[in-house]
Amino acid sequence: MIFAIIVGAIVLLVVLVFILSYNGLVRLRNRIDNAWSQIDVQLKRRYDLIPNLVETVKGYAAHERQTLESVTQARANAINAQGPVQQAEAENVLSGALKSLFAVAEAYPDLKANQNFLSLQEELTSTEDRVAYARQFYNDSVLSYNNKLQTFPRNVIAGMFSFDKREYFEGDPEATGPVRVQF
């Protein structure tokens, strides 16, 4: 009788550990997927800000057509980019184009004093931050997921239900770097 109770308790404990570990892994895996989509959300936000910026600058520096067009073009390329490598490259070009746009703005005191321009500049800087932070959060999530995946007892469960190790986001340092805004 006592023996049966002990066996029952152990079985119950094992089942409980099993359920908790499995659920924990699922939760972490979902967090990674969410973190990944968060990066896209922030990139899209950046694309959305650029037309406003171009319009504002146009009002003050209409004859800087070449710079404005290169920004618009770089944005379109980044949106249409396929695959992570091409995307990183396009993002890099876009960052460069924005950099030269802000450099051009230096020559226009009226533009620099424009409240709309200043707030767009702030928005763009913080969006760059957000892209970086979203990638950081993604990597943090991958780290804690992989840690759990490879330690006992979750590695057994992971093997049974084919939870795969996830890859870190490792961007080209140029592409992931912030836009340099010269003041």
Binding site: A35, Q115, S126, D129, S141
Partner: protein
Amino acid sequence: MYEQISKNKRKTFFLLFFFVALIAGVALAFNFLLGFGAIGVAVAIVFAIAMAWGSYFYSDRVALAASRAKPAEGPEYQRYHNLVEGLCIAAGLPKPRLYVVDDPAPNAFATGRNPKHAALAVTTGLLEKMNRVELEGVIAHELSHVKNYDILVTTVAVTAVGAIALLSDLGLRFMWFGGGDRRDRADSGNLGIILVILAFALLILAPFIALLMQFAVSRRRELLADASGVQLTRYPPGLIAALEKLKDDKAVVHHATRATAQMWIESPLERGPAGSGSEDAVDAEDGDGQKKGSWLNRAFDTHPPLDERIRILKEM
């Protein structure tokens, strides 16, 4: 750093356990001295629970109101909002409600009961004096308080200290006015006398023990929030520069008292051995007349010295 977080969680658990034990001890002593029996203990416990419940749901509103914080609305706070949103993405937290305290002294605090019901407040002085990177360091520190559930522990600690102080105060008052049948107990031999003395001592000392524990929790948590704040920004120089600026700034926050001191990123009260201080400092101190720089005052500090915090950050 991850180990530091889990170690801190364990320590917090033990401290909370001590708080509960202390409350139970005070309730027992109360009962023993006054002989109210089970009803007295039940009333005390119900009262303590009611207080805990109230503070759990309303402490953030009280803290914000006590500091005269108003919601951060308008274009001048855009950078503040943007920085918080960015860091929330990094931390995987929902965005807290943001408040501003109109005060030239640079400082900030977080309050609430969990990440979903959290609020962040900064002084206008902080927004003016800090550049973007420094401000980010400070906000990351505050968000770490939210993420580590320090805001809840602070709330619990404040409530526990309040409940203990109230209970022992009540007990002592009843004793002076000759309530209860303690004399019968005291007459029942040596053991009875010793127990009465012990219970009496516990009632007197409990509030002080509780306060000391509260401050120990607070100091430890500041260091942890520095560490995990830097883990968010991945840029220690930002927070270091901010703390250096706080060190150089001698202003004190007007609407801060010892009760709310532990919430802020830097102790809002005047510090340093030059005790006498300005009128503001006396006002903020709420006239508790502590002598600065003594070991006793160090034990009552809510924050570790800024120099120590800067040194630890530089070692990371």
